[in-house]
């Protein structure tokens, strides 16, 4: 998030320069991913993304064309992702409350609510921008679905088999939450040999470090870069069609604004920026689009200092709060942790020769001989002449420090960082999913995740690091009941890692690539699991010779995967007796190869297994509260059995990602299917975190030869091969089948008509040219699922009826498609 209202103001005053892209020839260009994505996916694009889920396919298209231009001019892009939030951002985004306020705002925004309550939210949102964005996202989704429901009911009589197109977009005027696609982007960057980094905290500070250490030549970032004292010029926007870019020259801006750098930072802190998102008084009362202009006017005409202004607030509590926010914002700017080229994360303290705001302040403070503070400021002033003092409580305005090793894994994208944030902040927030997560089954899932996932993860991650974290209370805060937080158990005896660390897969095959298929093969090839995979000794101590440690990436990933499955009760382990054997669930999973399930579906099926194992909702069961089906009343009434089939099929098809060409999706939506997708998505996210925790615990303990890999090898051989990283598929394929079958039922079982309907409704001519092939491929997936379900039923893991029903459903769909 940039400095509020500054960007438009800069353009208004014509202070944005422009150059042909050619000027960047041969340069290394640091790109702030957050800023960049928000430029690509403007509010007009991907407006239905939140209604279907998944990765915005058009993003890839824009990215590809931009990269082509970079290549043309031999520009090396370096993409830097945003890392954790600093204290101000955490507070402001309502992270600590599990985004409960935003979720609550949705309820208030619904038609029946009273104006009085909404005014309080308006006050709230006036105070905060990140949360306002989040809130706006939630509200827009909610409104989109409400609108869609209304549309459905008004068209109830006329709707038979022609799906209704939604009228209301599910996203507009909001910044897209790019965090959700970070792993997909990272995967894309790895595949295309593009340099990327995940910053420990603020991406643009990291970019500033990279530039000043000569790794990049220019920054493409938000207006916040203007607050950096050591960045003179940066690129604000790229106009690739014109082959131009827009840049900002700081010296010029300050000259035109007639204010100093310190004054500019003061204004930025008051109007709200990335590091201090709240608009401070007296600026809150002005329209958001003008705050910067007004603040600047105040400074230029009356020499207003907004920091001093905060003291004049007659409400003492507010005054204290705002002064605090201001101080945190400025301090975060001054002492921002960055990943340095030494591989360590250290504070990036501004260059010492800059005579800045703080120092001059102290000079004044002394000359005015302030009684009590005079003592404190004297030594620090002396220090400032040599180097800016680093205060002892950086953790108060940034966050607590984690070991550099953790940040390194984060910088690779090996971990998403959510768990790390939970450790440093003490809060694991659960925010509402795409459709709000109001179903009992989803909330059950959230509750169950504590025992099955979070406790173990926290334990795995806090065990190797400072003892402080091992006793630090960390809680899971749910958006639906923020006050009723669940305290996570980070201390178990013996620790999870102690239970795991003798489970070792060691092949020493450096070249072997990890996949679930090869893992299953490996396990199945073993005659004695206990003998082969339970090591007599632990291998993490430094005394263990290097060759006994894990050397191959495959071994690291497989070991972690085995431990991960054990954590999910897919295996039973008895270290004493050296027995390792799969549980019922595990044995079904190990049979995937036998059942000739396509390897590309392994991950999806494993997610399905875990979901079924969690047992919050059976496949044929309706959610509570129930959501309206996308099928017409006519269908539901005339073909009840087939409708049930369709329900089953669509649910499982949410695990199937249709091959789409990049396009902005505009087509039918289906809430019921999306709700089910939310469930699977949640399971997948947790599995991902669990796997991350297991692999990080293994790495930090020293089981793997970490020196053997360079950065690129880490990315290619490990990060890229980790499972569960990519976004859960969208609901497009599920909906295609749904409407195909509905049309098929109503239209005298004519397949051609039904396919034509799909082709027009989904505009597949541009997004999915090979529609038939996608249908047959997804049907294959359904058949594989059916086999797995049958196997599960035979192990009494699910009800036999469910498996039978699904088998029939697959048969029905096969007939429809084959006809």
């Amino acid at each position: 998030m940039a400095i509020k209202s500054l960007e438009s103001y800069l353009f208004e005053r014509g202070l944005v320069g422009s150059y042909p892209i050619e000027a960047l020839k041969n340069a290394a260009l640091g790109v702030d991913v957050n800023h960049y994505v928000s430029r690509l996916l403007t509010s007009k694009r991907e407006q239905y993304l939140d209604a279907i889920g998944g990765f915005p396919t058009s993003l890839k298209m824009y990215l590809e064309s931009d990269l082509k231009i970079f290549k043309e001019y031999n520009i090396t892009p370096v993409f830097v992702f945003n890392g954790s939030m600093v204290s101000n951002q955490l507070e402001n985004s309502d992270y600590l409350n599990g985004y409960a306020a935003e979720a609550a705002a949705v309820a208030m925004s619904s038609p029946g609510s009273k104006a009085s309550t909404s005014s309080s939210t308006a006050m709230y949102s006036a105070n905060s921008a990140v949360s306002a964005n989040k809130e706006a996202i939630f509200i827009q989704r909610h409104r989109g679905w409400t609108q869609w429901n209304n549309l459905r009911s008004s068209n109830q009589t006329s709707y038979i088999d022609q799906p209704i197109q939604p009228q209301e977009p599910f996203r507009y005027n909001t910044m897209i939450e790019s965090k959700r696609f970070y792993s997909d982007l990272i995967a894309y960057f790895i595949d295309n040999d593009i340099i990327y980094q995940v910053a420990p905290y603020t991406s643009w500070s990291q970019l500033s470090y990279l530039m000043n250490s000569g790794y990049i030549d220019a920054i493409y970032g938000p207006t916040d870069c203007l607050m950096l004292s050591d960045v003179d010029k940066f690129i604000l926007g790229m106009e690739f069609p014109n082959k131009e870019f827009r840049f900002i020259d700081k010296t010029r801006i300050l000259r035109e604004f007639n204010c100093s750098h310190e004054e500019f930072v003061d204004i930025a802190m008051a109007v709200g920026n990335d590091l201090q998102p709240v608009t401070l008084p007296p600026l809150q009362i002005y329209p958001a689009s003008q705050v910067f202009e007004i603040a600047l006017e105040m400074v230029v005409t009356t020499g207003t200092n907004f920091y001093a202004y905060q003291f004049s607030n007659p409400i003492k509590t507010e005054s204290v709060e705002f002064v605090d926010k201001y101080q945190k914002g400025v301090s975060a700017l001054r002492y921002m942790p960055v990943l340095k080229d030494s591989g360590k994360v250290e504070l990036y303290v501004e260059a010492e020769n800059i005579r800045d705001y703080l120092e001059t302040d102290q000079g004044d403070g002394e000359s005015h001989a302030t009684s009590d503070k005079g003592m404190a400021s004297k030594p620090s002033k002396a220090a400032s002449l040599t180097r800016k003092p680093v205060p002892s409580d950086v953790h108060a305005f940034i966050a607590q420090q984690l070991p550099s090793e953790y940040y390194f894994y984060k910088s690779l994208g090996l971990v998403s960082g959510k768990l790390f944030d939970a450790i440093t902040t003490g809060v694991y927030p659960e925010e509402p999913p795409l459709v709000g997560g109001s179903t009992n089954s989803y909330r059950n899932l959230v509750k169950k995740s504590v025992d099955l996932f979070k406790n173990k993860e926290i334990n795995l991650l806090t065990q190797p690091i400072n003892r402080y974290y091992q006793i630090k209370p960390i809680k899971q805060v749910n958006w639906f009941a923020p006050e009723d937080a669940t305290v996570l158990v980070n201390r178990v005896m013996p620790s999870i890692f102690d239970k795991l660390n003798r489970l070792i897969v060691k092949t020493d095959d450096i070249e072997r690539q990890f996949s679930m298929k090869s893992f299953i093969t490996l396990i199945n090839n073993s005659d004695d699991l206990g003998n082969d995979f339970i090591s007599d000794n632990v291998i993490f101590p430094n005394s263990v010779p290097a060759e006994k440690k894990l050397l191959a990436p495959f071994d690291l990933l497989s070991t972690s995967f085995l431990r991960f499955l054990y954590q999910l009760d897919f295996f039973d382990l008895d270290l004493e007796k050296k027995i390792l054997k799969p549980t019922e669930w595990g044995s079904v999973f190990l049979k995937l190869n036998e059942m000739s399930v396509d390897p590309k579906f392994h991950e999806s099926i494993l997610i399905l297994l875990v979901f079924l194992k969690l047992d919050v909702l059976s496949l044929s069961q309706d959610t509570v509260p129930s959501a309206q089906s996308a099928l017409s009343q006519a269908t539901l009434r005339s073909y009840p059995q087939e409708s049930l089939y369709v329900l089953l099929l669509t649910r499982l098809l949410t695990l199937y990602q249709i091959e789409q060409k990049p396009s902005n999706y505009h087509g039918p939506v289906d809430k019921k299917t999306l709700i089910f997708r939310d469930h699977l998505h949640y399971v997948k996210a947790n599995m991902n975190e669990m796997y991350e925790a297991v692999i990080v615990s293994s790495l930090t303990s020293g089981e793997f030869d970490r020196v053997s890999l360079e950065g690129e090898a880490w990315q290619k051989k490990i990060v890229r091969n980790m499972p569960f990283k990519l976004t859960t598929p969208n609901t497009v394929m599920a909906m295609m089948w749904q409407f195909f079958l509905q049309k098929y039922l109503h239209n005298g079982n004519a397949k051609a008509d039904a396919l034509t309907l799909i082709a027009t409704e989904f505009s597949t001519y541009k997004s999915t040219p090979n529609l038939e092939q996608q249908f047959s491929s997804s049907h294959e997936f359904l058949q594989h699922c059916s086999r797995v379900l049958t196997a599960l039923a035979s192990h009494n893991l699910i009800k036999n009826d469910d498996a039978l029903l699904f088998e029939k459903a697959v048969k029905f769909s096969g007939e429809a498609f084959a006809s």
Binding site: Q327, A396, R706, V707
Partner: protein, 738 residues
């Protein structure tokens, strides 16, 4: 406060402001403001005026008051308007006029040297004395007269010199209206001259032979030698191949002569062809440029646009002033001549005229000034075949021409670019006429003269890309100006001198660095190596281990044992600091206001039609400022009120009233969300009162209470000056004018 911002952006609503302030009982002090709004144009005008004033005052005696109230008088040598910090001035031969509050005047005056530089921040007031505005006026008029006189007889006046004192040419020529011509007298040789024997002798009349060589030898002892072969190739007739070569030469000569003269009279005549020259005059035969190629273009033109075809005939220089001659090059050269005081055109100019002429196109319209087009010889060969095509093409050409006439690049071409253009792009296109330079280029620009626009256009075409808005045919508004100006930088300069070089190892460097394990290993290896070098026996270094994450504390490494909060000023010093800041800002504003006010007043005298207030005596600045505030009404009274005016309730209420009457387009500015607590300080004044720092002593800056209103208004005034300077990018530096 709102009113101010709105007014800056939009002009409407000001009259409402004005009337409401008038109505608020604050008499007519501000009522006049309704007439003015500070559009960019206005601000710029005032900036220009201040520039003008200062330019005029350079060299005259001024009195500067610095912030310590010491007054210095001296000759104003230079001033810097670019400073953000008021007006830096340089005084020559400074003297202390008034000691002000300083008690060590002796000391001060001793320290004074020949030159005194006063920082803009220190200039409290600048009094300009005895500025001769008429001087400029005179020269202006003189120029005008000059131009008028050019059509009449040139008048020479030497009388002026007799009056003593230094006189410029202008003074001299203008000084006396009547010019007495002496009667011209025929020269008759004196008696002594008769010895020269040239009496009554002209060349024709001369008798006898004249051998210059012999005379030269006789008179000066110079013996002339002459050898033809110094000047030409000697033909060796004894060469064995001579015959052969002669034949070859003859063959070539025949070949050349056998070629048609293609209607070229000169060639025909050179070759001894007989040409019917009955319809041609000498001009056509020997001097004029063959321009029949243009008949074609003219014919095409008649097709495209009905207008009488014009004879493509060379026009004698004497007739070039006639309106039918519209060749741009000629027009420009003529005007150049007329502006250059009727100096005889130099040889270079006439040469250039001819060359321009060759490619220039006569146009159909009288006032039309056209871009020279390509020589049309090529076209002529194709016309018959594809005349239809040409019609549409011609229309396009016409359009382009029109565009080129209107097109003006809204900024000056930077000096360095001019050089580049001259050297590269102009030369690269031979179809372009050579750019008339020298005295032609330096004349005041004519409307649409291609001379000025041409290189700019070229530049844009040859540059990588022309941003769309800079193509706007009209001058872009001053707001856009800034953005345009930044576009003219050349492509390299984004990175300055150190443009990035291709570096294939970037990826590697990212891969190697930022990896804590490899880096730690490297550091370890280095250390081990050092250790080995130091003491080869002692190899007891520990084996390499990666540091356990366990050792990292949850807090960050700090250098001082303090909270970040203690690095910020506490409440008191923060407010003190803010106050100093305010004073600083205010001081600058007042300084600027004072000078600006002076400028405006003086301008009022000169321009007369601009301001409606009666001209007051240019006395001390304070009454003047009051006068400005009362009469000028130039600036909006409702501006964000500086925070420290608790002693001015009437101002408050006025501001408040103004705010409400300001018709602010965004009423949510006064939204109900505003914490009511902020209103406690000044009930009744919606927003303004809310911003006071409680308990702040007000320190008057601009004189007594009676002056406060005026001071404040002027202070706003000054602000706008600053703003104008900033946003319009006026570069002012009076050093140049000196």
């Amino acid at each position: 406060m709102k009113g101010n911002f709105n007014s800056r952006r939009k002009d409407h609503g000001n009259s409402a402001n004005g009337s409401s302030t008038g109505g608020s009982g604050n008499n007519n002090q501000f009522a006049g403001s309704s007439g003015f709004h500070e559009s960019a144009e206005t601000t710029r005008n005032f900036n220009d005026r201040l520039d003008y004033l200062l330019a005029k005052s350079i060299g005259s005696e001024v009195v500067a008051t610095v912030t310590s109230a010491v007054k210095y008088s001296g000759v104003l040598v230079a001033c810097n308007l670019e400073s953000n910090n008021g007006l830096d001035i340089v005084l020559k031969y400074p003297q202390i006029v008034d000691g002000g509050f300083a008690d060590n005047i002796e000391e001060l005056s001793e320290q004074l040297g020949d030159t005194l530089l006063i920082n803009g921040a220190d200039v409290g007031e600048l009094e300009l004395k005895g500025i001769d505005f008429a001087a400029g006026e005179k020269s202006e008029q003189a120029k005008k007269q000059e131009i008028e006189e050019q059509t009449k007889k040139p008048i020479e006046s030497q009388e002026g010199k007799a009056n003593g004192g230094f006189k410029t040419d202008v003074d001299i020529s203008r000084g006396k209206g009547e010019v007495r011509e002496r009667e011209l007298q025929k020269w008759t040789p004196d008696a002594a001259d008769e010895s020269l024997e040239i009496h009554n002798q002209t060349l024709e009349e001369s008798s006898g032979t004249w051998d210059q060589f012999s005379v030269n030898e006789k008179k000066f002892g110079v013996k002339s030698t002459f050898d033809e072969h110094l000047y030409t190739t000697k033909i060796n007739k004894k060469d064995p191949d001579y015959e052969k070569r002669l034949k070859e030469a003859e063959r070539i000569a025949k070949e050349i002569e056998s070629q048609g003269s293609a209607g070229n009279i000169h060639i025909a005549e050179d070759r001894g062809h007989i040409v019917d020259d009955s319809g041609l005059d000498e001009e056509d035969l020997y001097s004029g440029v063959d321009r029949r190629g243009n008949e074609l273009l003219a014919a095409l033109k008649t097709n495209a646009k009905p207008s009488p075809a014009k004879p493509s005939k060379y026009v004698a220089p004497t007739l070039r002033d006639q309106p039918h001659n519209v060749d741009p090059a000629i027009i420009s050269s003529i005007t150049a001549k007329s502006h250059a005081n009727k100096q005889a055109p130099t040889a270079t100019v006439s040469v250039k005229e001819v060359s321009v002429h060759r490619s220039a196109t006569p146009s159909s319209k009288v006032t039309h000034v056209e871009m020279p087009t390509k020589p049309s010889t090529k076209t002529s060969q194709r016309t018959d075949v594809a005349s239809k095509k040409h019609v549409s093409k011609e229309a396009q050409i016409e359009e382009l021409k029109k565009f080129s006439q209107k097109f003006k690049v809204p900024y000056d071409v930077p000096e360095d670019l001019k050089g580049i253009l001259k050297n590269s792009s102009l030369k690269s296109d031979p179809s372009l006429p050579p750019k008339p330079s020298g005295n032609t280029g330096s004349k005041p620009s004519l409307p649409g003269t291609p001379v000025g626009a041409k290189p700019d256009l070229r530049k844009n075409l040859s540059g990588a890309k022309l941003p769309s808005q800079s193509q706007t045919p009209t001058h872009s508004p001053s707001l856009g100006r800034a953005s345009v100006s930044s576009k003219r930088r050349s492509t390299i300069s984004f990175f300055g001198s150190k443009a990035p070089q291709p570096d294939e190892k970037k990826k590697q460097s990212f891969s190697r660095n930022f990896n804590m394990f490899i880096k730690a290993k490297q550091a370890y290896d280095e250390k081990a190596k050092n250790l080995q070098q130091q003491d080869s026996e002692n190899k007891s270094m520990e084996p390499f281990f990666i540091e356990k994450p366990y050792f990292t504390a949850p807090t960050w490494i700090s250098t001082v044992d303090q909270s970040y909060k203690s690095l910020f000023p506490d409440e008191r010093s923060a407010i003190q600091r803010a106050q100093i800041n305010l004073q600083h800002r205010q001081m600058n504003s007042i300084n600027a206001a004072a000078t600006a006010a002076a400028a405006n007043q003086q301008m009022g005298v000169v321009v007369g039609n601009m301001v409606r207030f009666p001209m007051g005596p240019g006395g001390s600045p304070n009454p003047m400022m009051n006068g400005m505030a009362g009469n000028m009404g130039m600036y909006m009274p409702l501006q964000p009120q500086p925070m420290f005016y608790p002693s001015m309730p009437h101002m408050m209420s006025m501001m408040g009233g103004g705010e409400e009457g300001g018709g602010s387009p965004s009423p949510q500015a006064l939204s109900p969300h505003m914490p009511p607590a902020y209103l406690n300080n000044a009930p009744g004044s919606p927003a303004m009162g809310a911003y006071g720092y409680p308990g702040m002593p007000f320190q008057p800056m601009a004189g007594g209470g009676a002056n406060l209103g005026g001071g404040n208004a002027n202070y706003r005034h000054g602000y706008h000056h600053h703003g104008g300077q900033g946003s319009h990018g006026h570069r002012r530096n009076n050093h140049d004018n000196h």
